[in-house]
Amino acid sequence: MTEGMLMNLVRLLLYLVGMIGFAAFNAAYLTLLERKQASWMQLRRGPTEVGPWGLLQPVADGVKLMSKQLLLPRDVDVPLFLLGPIMVVVPPILCLVTIPFSETVVARNYNLGLLMIFAFGAVSTFALMLAGLASANKFSSIAAARIVAQNIAYEIPLLVIVLSLVMTTHTFNLHTIVAQQAGGFWHWNLLKLGANPLMPVAFLIYFICLLAESNRAPFDMVEAESELVAGVFTEYSGMGFGLFFIAEYVNIVVGCCLATILFLGGWHCPFGLLPGLHWFLIKMYALCVMVVWVRWSFPRTQFYGLLNLSWKYLIPLALANLLLTAVMLKLF
């Protein structure tokens, strides 16, 4: 009994360290990926000086951010202002706990894993809003107000899409959802047209919502640097500023993990060969590359354009998708 508890504790600690390490590594090297990919798209070379091929650039960035003074402007709400970045960065890391990276690599296999991820995702966005309001800066306040509207507008289609998936899979357990998609790519939820012919559209809606929820261009209203200077980040300096970016990238990773699990068959190989962690990572990073690709190809949408897109197109489409799923479920 005690040995079992000890093993459990060790396992828990290992996973905790592992998750934070995974999150930190991804946040650091996705910045490098972003800068490198942007530079390839823009006829330039990106970071080349720090380490071979610029590989140590994230380390240099981290050291720079940590050595900067954390400025506290005079009028800020100090506790909220300091809590903001931490509250933004913790939820996405917690979300990683329930993500099944492979058959065996999963920290906690919760039955309500899917629900947990969305619950924590919402905390992260509201923490961003609090950070903006605590800054006592007009640009930050405008950005904070935008976050609320954006979050409501994009959480709805996202949840409705996920709901239709839950209806076809009959479970909130991420591990089971992936296990159901075993076999070749034609077993993936993305192509389960028998359950719902609109599945590819659902994936597209999910991807757009993923961009909006993780505040990525073309929906980066939180930052909107040419309008709101740096949005909610305006008053932050040093690692406080850095934490927001770590959170942004971990959010992308969580979103892409979830897309892999829900639509792309998780750790299963497209051709039914050698399932495992590597397939999960390949799919997940391919989605990350797409997220970066979109950012550097499009200008920012207007704020009302963003809301219109959601309320006029995504939400009706998502609801239609839900209805169709229900009908198909009843019929077959």
């Binding site: 942007a38 823009q42 640097e225 550097w296 499009f298 920012r300 949408t301 207007q302 009302y304």
Partner: protein, 372 residues
């Protein structure tokens, strides 16, 4: 915090955009009175970059003021020089050799392309798209290399002299300019695919920031701003100067008056400028590039004259009054950006912050040109 609380009671607040703000491209300040994200009033506050160029023109000799012209609108510096030497030449009655006039047109039109390319890039950055800027800079770099080879500088050119230009162009320049015309033409479809057809770009520009022709006239707007509102006002056609009458080119006009129309005008102008450069290179006559016997200390006879050129941003005019001495008695610089900015206050009212900044970007302001 106290000012914020006060503003809450009035349900509107003042937002300072600038003097240091990413959307103002320099030290322009716009005092926005906002109701939520809607603009109630937008008051441009200028003068942060004021360097008294007009006064400097009055207390130094004509030639000593020449380098100052490159510091007005530094993105399209050659036009300022052209306007100034044109005014002084008219005052002093100097006749410029034809080769020099052709070289002026070639370099000016290259400068116009460079300026428009920079605008396309900067405008896209205003809209949140960073990538096109790098493509624009890639093409602009070729122009700057070409201009550097004849003028010696890459940005604040001081190339024109009273009675001509200071350096003759060589075969390398001519070959390079021809190669650039070809390469730039092949790049235009890329910009079209990458920018003009981009759905988000079109959503952000079409129907946004509509300026009527009447508003443009009221505030004296010129250049691509007024041509995007359906008025074919181009100094090169209406008050022909230099050798423009001998060259065949069109004045692109779009009637929509929105940001997209101004974008299309500038893109079309790049194509027209390429045509002008090509023709001018073909027609480039042999001969001297400086007029004979221009005195070192130029003393134009008493007089008053105005010379207008079509700069990349609109009509740039120089009024020079001579009292017969070595210095101008009065030098007035009419800057296109100043007039183009002045319509912002009226037109931004009732717009959303996002759209107003798109409108501001589409005016193509160069702040030192406003402040002078």
């Amino acid at each position: 915090m106290s000012s914020d609380a006060q503003a809450l009671h009035h349900e509107s607040f003042v937002l300072n955009v600038g003097p240091q703000h990413p959307a103002t491209h320099g030290v322009l300040r716009i005092k926005l009175t906002m109701d939520g994200e809607y603009i109630v009033d937008a008051e441009p506050v200028i003068g942060y970059g004021h360097r008294m160029h007009e006064k400097m023109g009055e207390n130094r000799s004509y030639a000593k003021f020449l380098p100052n012209t490159g510091r007005l609108d530094y993105v399209a510096a050659l036009f300022n020089g052209h306007g100034y030497v044109g005014a002084v030449e008219r005052l002093a009655g100097l006749v410029v050799p034809e080769r020099a006039e052709y070289i002026r047109v070639i370099t000016c039109e290259l400068n116009r392309i460079a300026s428009h390319l920079l605008w396309v890039g900067a405008f896209l950055v205003d809209l949140g798209g960073f990538t096109p800027l790098l493509y624009c800079f890639d093409d602009r770099e070729h122009i700057l290399d070409l201009l550097e080879s004849v003028t010696g500088s890459r940005l604040t050119f001081c190339y024109f002299r009273f009675g001509g230009v200071c350096n003759d162009v060589d075969d390398n320049f001519i070959a390079g300019a021809r190669a650039f015309v070809t390469s730039m033409r092949s790049r235009m479809p890329l910009y079209d695919a990458f920018v003009s057809k981009n759905i988000i770009f079109r959503k952000r520009c079409e129907g946004i920031g509509i300026l009527s022709a009447a508003e443009c006239r009221k505030y004296g707007a010129s250049g691509p701003v007024i041509r995007g509102s359906g008025v074919a006002y181009d100094v090169r056609k209406l008050e022909p100067y230099s050798v423009y009458p001998q060259l065949d080119f069109d004045v692109p006009v779009y009637t929509e008056g929105d940001c997209m129309a101004r974008y299309r005008v500038r893109i079309a102008e790049i194509v027209e400028s390429l045509r002008i450069v090509e023709q001018a290179l073909d027609k480039l006559p042999a001969g001297p590039v400086m007029a004979d016997k221009v005195p070192r200390a130029l003393k134009p006879p008493k007089g008053d004259c105005y010379f207008n050129v079509e700069s990349a941003r609109g009509s740039f005019g120089v009024r020079a009054i001579s009292d017969g001495s070595e210095n101008a008695y009065r030098l007035k610089l009419r800057s296109p950006c100043f007039s183009n900015l002045s319509l912002f206050q009226e037109c931004a009212r009732g717009m959303l912050l996002t759209d107003a900044l798109a409108l501001l970007g589409s005016l193509d302001l160069v702040i030192p040109d406003i402040d002078r």
